[in-house]
């Protein structure tokens, strides 16, 4: 299967007062056709930036310093001009933002806003557009589309608006749908509906999904493969099943431990100590997670860990999986770490 989107060694820098700080570091991932891919990470880990970079919409203070983003193996998105990019946006790649309350322009009707996408990319007659809009609104589960399309955004609830946003994103049958925390602002019951809807529709339209979220539950429900990001780096990349059954990177393990499950009556929730380092705090060498890692070794602070293929479909960026990690003075860390982890989970 050929790859729809391939990101190779993508680095993004931010310019603060004339000096550059790295915020996304040598990120590589590839999304196959019809695949559902997830990026998960804390706030400030660079996941949203990655999506913005794919759309070529980086703010002026941000720049791609290295790497490429290949779309359909031929188009290099980072080098396309704004004009060429405008043809791709909304048609081949579309994006759903986090906040459905402000995602629609308050002064236009739903019909007008959806038709705007069609007007830009196709030459349909008014009647055709009307029919297309009605059918997509039906697809996203909006009752009475004929009357709803005449209403204004403030007349709809948050869940309905997010459905309209999804309709807007999917009406051109894009090849890739980027969903940047699409359910964060919705309440839990609606979240599940929206995720299910996205799953259904992307299958119907043969669209790949790039799901960006901080919620591992969302990843579990929608994705096939997942990349865990920390401080601008992918620390672990694997199939969703392997990630949940045997996470390898200490950060992923921490993330999974922090999930609160229903009926869990333990007094305190687990949390990873410390915060994601800010771009100015990052060092050139060493593991970026070292300051918060429970298994940190001296080696971690000096040398950047390599990506290690821990199993057939799982890559982790950690010294623990290497020989140098195991023969460290603290010895046998890797095995200890996963045993410890499995113990806490079987409890």
């Amino acid at each position: 299967m050929s790859n729809l989107l391939e990101i190779n060694n993508l680095s993004i820098d931010v310019k603060i007062e004339k000096s550059y700080y790295n915020i996304v570091n040598r990120l590589s991932l590839s999304i196959a056709k019809k695949q559902k891919y997830g990026i998960v990470g804390e706030s400030g880990s660079g996941k949203s930036l990655t999506s913005v970079a794919i759309m070529n919409l980086l703010a002026d203070s941000l720049s791609v310093s290295e790497g490429q983003i290949l779309f359909e193996e031929t188009q290099e998105l980072t080098t396309l001009s704004n004009k060429e990019m405008m043809k791709i946006r909304g048609k081949d790649i579309s994006i759903i933002f986090q906040e459905p309350m402000t995602a629609l322009d308050p002064i236009f009707t739903i019909e007008y806003q959806i038709s705007e996408v069609l007007k830009i990319h196709f030459n349909h007659s008014k009647k055709e557009m009307r029919e297309m809009i009605i059918s997509i609104l039906k697809d996203v589960g909006i009752p009475r589309p004929e009357s709803i399309m005449k209403s204004y955004p403030h007349e709809l609830s948050g869940g309905m608006r997010q459905r309209v946003v999804i309709a807007m994103a999917l009406i051109c049958k894009p090849k890739l749908l980027i969903a940047d925390e699409p359910t964060t602002a919705l309440d839990v019951t609606i979240q599940a509906q929206i995720l299910e809807l996205m799953n259904e529709l992307t299958e119907k339209y043969d669209t790949s999904i790039l799901m960006i979220t901080h919620d591992l539950g969302v990843i579990n429900e929608t994705c096939e493969r997942v990349a865990v990001m920390y401080a601008g780096e992918v620390v672990e990349e694997s199939s969703v099943d392997s990630l949940f059954s045997h996470p390898k990177h200490p950060y992923t393990q921490g993330l999974l431990k922090s999930i609160h499950t229903l009926g869990d009556r333990s007094e305190k929730l687990y949390s990873i100590p410390g915060n994601v380092p800010t771009p100015t705090q990052l060092k050139k060498h060493g593991c970026r997670f070292a300051s918060r890692c429970p298994h940190v070794m001296d080696l971690c602070k000096e040398e950047t860990p390599p990506y290690v293929e821990v199993s057939e479909d799982q890559v982790s960026k950690c010294w623990l999986h290497t020989e140098r990690g195991e023969y460290n003075e603290q010895g046998q860390k890797a095995s200890v770490a996963s045993e410890e982890y499995e113990k806490t989970f079987s409890d």
């Binding site: 405008m86 946006r89 048609k91 995602a103 705007e116 996408v117």
Partner: protein
Amino acid sequence: MKQFLKRLRKDKVGIVGFVGIAMVIIIGLLAPLIAPYGPEEMSQTHVMEGPSKEFIFGTDEFGRDIFSRIVYGAQVSLQVGLIAVGIGAGFGLLFGLISGFFQGKIDQIIMRIMDVFFAFPDILLALTIVAVLGPSLTNTMIAIGIVFTPVFTRVVRGTVISVKENEYISNAVAIGVSPVNIIIKHVTPNIMAPFIVQVTLGLSGAILTEAALSFLGLGVQPPNPSWGVMLNDGRALMEFAPWTILFPAGAIIFTIFCFNLFGDSLRDILDPKLK
């Protein structure tokens, strides 16, 4: 729009302002029908007469009917107000949109120029421009328009910057709308509320500035009936014939008052936070 009218109907102060403005506009438009005499028509037998049945606001030193001159003066005031604010608001909108939407260097350049204009007191700047262009009705309007541009630019720029942060703007970019279309279709309509309020308040400011310039002899030139010119004419006669100054001043105060009332109530009505 329906909602807007409903809210306006509830706001009594706003209605007073609105009715007052409507009156001034109607008087201005129907001046030839309302005024009993021509604005420059002199009567040698009725010089400096106090208010009477024949001349309800009295006459001035040339025997001109003050009521008729005030009625015709409404035309001048409205004309100056609309055109000057049109110039100021038009340029202000253009500069504000460019400045707020693109930000960066162009924003810096535009806003620093506006700051320079801001540094002068309104009247002084208008005086200087009129002095350079030469006193006439047209030049007064141009001068007031230039003086008002920075205020509009600031208001528009500020609103654009806040509107731009909304996700529907990023959404529009993400579906492939070009920047120019985003400004025209998505940004401009969304900044209209504060802009319209500023226009209403600007109208009263422009009328006042015109009166002041005319009073100083650099605006509308006599014998054209401008309220400011009338004030200037009556200045010397104040002690003997107070009506020559009382009624034009009253007209100015009434008009400004109505515009401000209406502007204030518009601001309350259009404030999205109160919805």
